[in-house]
């Protein structure tokens, strides 16, 4: 329906935006409240842009200032040192850390989305006994500070947990310095959030569409992945982005589950901290590294946003 007036705001008088002196503008604003709304909108946009981007600008300022000169900073870099973006790779194989983080992030995200999709479907669309209890139980896992998991998980993943089945005692495998001891805990720890997000989104998809898919011949799972998931694209993409970013930047677990080397699947934050000496901190390198490190995420967001912002349910149902 009426694509033209999409969204809850903004009429469509784009063309009129940039004309006329202030007086005329005010006049118009009174006659046409849309105008006032529009200017409010722009003010708010600019405000948010400034507040969110300013710290980044500051980061860039720090990156471009030679470390020695980082002192008494103003709004402009003191000196201009773009080589920092090369130095940072010379000092630490940062790209390898980025790769590690990326792989960890993607793997975890896939696992989380898959498991959370199944669980979200169950919680969002099915009725069964024990539902509230299970949901609360899953939620309760996220009440615990991550430190509460550290020791047992470390032992589990370094081959120190023995499981006795009858006479046989199986020791857990030593997975230290592999992705596994990070991917699994991340998956478990970020799972509750995704489950809850997807539960709300899947729950909102009209039954009619699932019905249609099932009559067309899908199984319940088929309907989930062919119809419900695509239609919940904003929710799924959001859950994915949130999980990915969280894993990409995780450090609390990852620094204990490997020895911090790029070759041992240490993630990006380990890389950033590698720049740091015991006392001396090359803020410029760390800033540069974080700017570079954020780029893949920005790209991911650009890709995912088309999904995040895509009102898809239009035109589906007549009801």
């Amino acid at each position: 329906m009426s694509n033209e007036s999409s969204g809850i705001g903004l009429g469509s008088d784009d063309a009129e935006m940039k004309r006329g002196p202030l007086g005329r503008w005010v006049n118009k604003a009174i006659k046409n409240p849309d105008r006032a709304y529009r200017s409010m909108f722009y003010v708010a946009t600019v405000f948010f842009l400034v507040t969110t981007l300013f710290p980044f600008y500051w980061l860039l300022v720090i990156a471009l200032t030679p470390n020695r000169l980082i002192s008494n900073m103003g709004l402009l870099p003191k000196g201009f040192n773009p080589e920092v973006f090369i130095t940072m790779f010379e000092r630490v194989p940062f790209h390898l850390y980025m790769f590690n983080s990326f792989v960890l992030g993607i793997t975890t995200t896939v696992i989380v989305l898959l498991l959370a999709s199944l669980a979200g479907y169950v919680f969002g669309r099915l009725r069964f006994p024990g539902k509230s209890f299970l949901m609360l139980g899953i939620l309760a896992i996220s009440y615990f500070p991550p430190a509460a998991f550290l020791i047992p998980l470390f032992e589990l993943f370094t081959g120190n947990t023995a499981i006795s089945i009858g006479f046989i005692t199986v020791s857990s495998p030593d997975l230290f310095n592999t992705p596994a001891p990070m991917v699994f805990p991340f998956s478990a720890l970020f799972l509750p959030l995704s489950i809850f997000i997807l539960t709300t989104f899947y729950g909102q998809i009209p039954d009619g569409l699932e019905d249609a898919a099932r009559v067309e011949g899908t199984t319940r799972l088929g309907a989930l992945f062919r119809v419900i998931v695509p239609l919940s694209a904003p929710g799924v993409a959001t859950a994915g982005v949130l999980t990915f970013i969280a894993v990409y930047n995780e450090f609390f677990f990852s620094f204990l589950m490997n020895n911090g080397e790029a070759s041992s699947w240490a993630p990006i934050v380990a890389g950033i901290l590698k720049y740091q000496g015991q006392f001396d901190t090359p803020y410029n390198l760390m800033a540069a590294a974080s700017i570079v490190g954020v780029l893949p995420v920005a790209i991911l967001v650009i890709i995912a946003q088309e999904r995040i912002v895509s009102g898809l349910t239009a035109g589906a149902l007549k009801e």
Partner: protein, 341 residues
């Protein structure tokens, strides 16, 4: 239609056999409850091994005394003594700050609100979640609009969420470091924020000032989380409902209040719920900006005792923290229940 394929459908149906097909058929034949539990199995197994088992282990650790010498990780079995000590304050000496505040009968019902981990955490939680929700809402409303360049605005608004906490801490730490950042001045030469009385000239050593700045830093980073989720909620609303509302005479505000808001409320609640839980467990940004000694949050206590290493105490603090979070969360649960999720 398709006369030639008289038996088309039947044919393809018979073609589908074998283990995959029988698994599918078996699943389809399950009752709703069975099916539900089947689909939950992978998630439950993962959570069981990676979350429940460690928690059980940690819980048993909380029943033992700390042990600082010798090769044993834990001391003797003490039952619930750790819990009792922590709640009565008898263990506060081992923590960066008191765990629970000293309660009084006068407003604000505690003495020195910044001196206990619980109060610091609650203050942080209330303000950060409140502002993140409001700002996230605002950002989502903007991102929901169609305007030129919105994809870039969207990236800009989301990107703080992509900054590692270490760097987030560094950004703000440097900004509020006298003689490095420009947001803090000296007594003789105060910066704007100093003059306005928001912060002192050494804000990162002062609990109240640091807490304020940490909240600001957290809001900066985490509003994006809220914005993303709320935006996704808004995007999932059938646009034709707005058409109906518009024709019925709803102003923008009314459309928001009567349609957008109720329809995204479940999403907002989920977002707030998880933000609250996360905020109650705040640690990283504190550590990187001001240190656990200055701004002792509940998680700070867990981590410092863990590193000390007072494993028994640490496990106990972790469990009590979880309990406190559980209490706070039950506020939401009540709301959830009324939202019918």
């Amino acid at each position: 239609m398709a006369t030639e394929q008289q038996s088309g459908e039947a044919l393809s149906e018979s073609r589908r056999s074998g283990p995959y097909a029988s698994a599918v058929n078996w699943m389809e034949a399950l009752s709703e409850t069975q099916f539900a539990y089947l689909l939950l199995t992978p998630a439950l197994i993962l959570l069981g091994v990676i979350a429940l088992y460690p928690l059980a282990t940690t819980f048993s650790m909380s029943l033992f005394a700390d042990q600082l010498t010798g090769s044993a990780r834990l001391g003797e079995f003490v039952g619930l003594q750790n819990y009792i000590d922590l709640i009565t304050g008898a263990r506060d000496f081992a923590l960066p700050s008191a765990f629970l505040p000293t309660f009084t009968t006068q407003f604000p019902f505690v003495t020195d609100i910044y001196s206990s981990a619980l109060m610091v955490t609650l203050i942080f939680t209330v303000f950060s979640v409140l502002f993140e929700t409001l700002i996230g809402f605002g950002q989502a409303l903007i991102l929901d609009q169609d305007f030129r360049g919105r994809r870039w605005v969207r990236v800009a608004i989301i990107i703080p969420w992509a900054v590692p906490i270490v760097i987030q801490g560094m950004i703000w730490y440097l900004m509020f470091q006298p003689n490095i950042g420009f947001l803090v001045g000296t007594t003789d030469n105060p910066a704007l924020l100093n003059q306005l009385g928001f912060i002192g000239t050494t804000p990162l050593r002062d609990t109240a000032d640091s807490l304020f700045l940490i909240i600001v830093a957290d809001v900066w980073k985490t509003s994006a989380f809220m914005a993303l989720l709320i935006l996704a909620g808004m995007q999932s609303i059938d646009r034709s409902l707005y058409d109906v509302a518009k024709v019925a005479g709803a102003s923008r505000w009314q459309q928001f209040k009567l349609i957008t808001f109720p329809l995204i409320l479940p999403t907002v609640l989920v977002a707030m719920l998880f933000r609250t839980i996360d905020a109650m467990r705040v640690y990283g940004i504190i550590e990187t900006m001001a240190g656990c000694q200055t701004v002792p949050s509940l998680s700070c206590l867990v981590v410092t005792t863990f590193n000390a290493p007072l494993y028994g105490t640490s496990a106990t603090v972790a469990f009590i923290t979880a309990g406190i979070i559980g209490i706070v969360v039950s506020v939401y649960i009540v709301n959830f229940a009324s939202e019918g999720i």
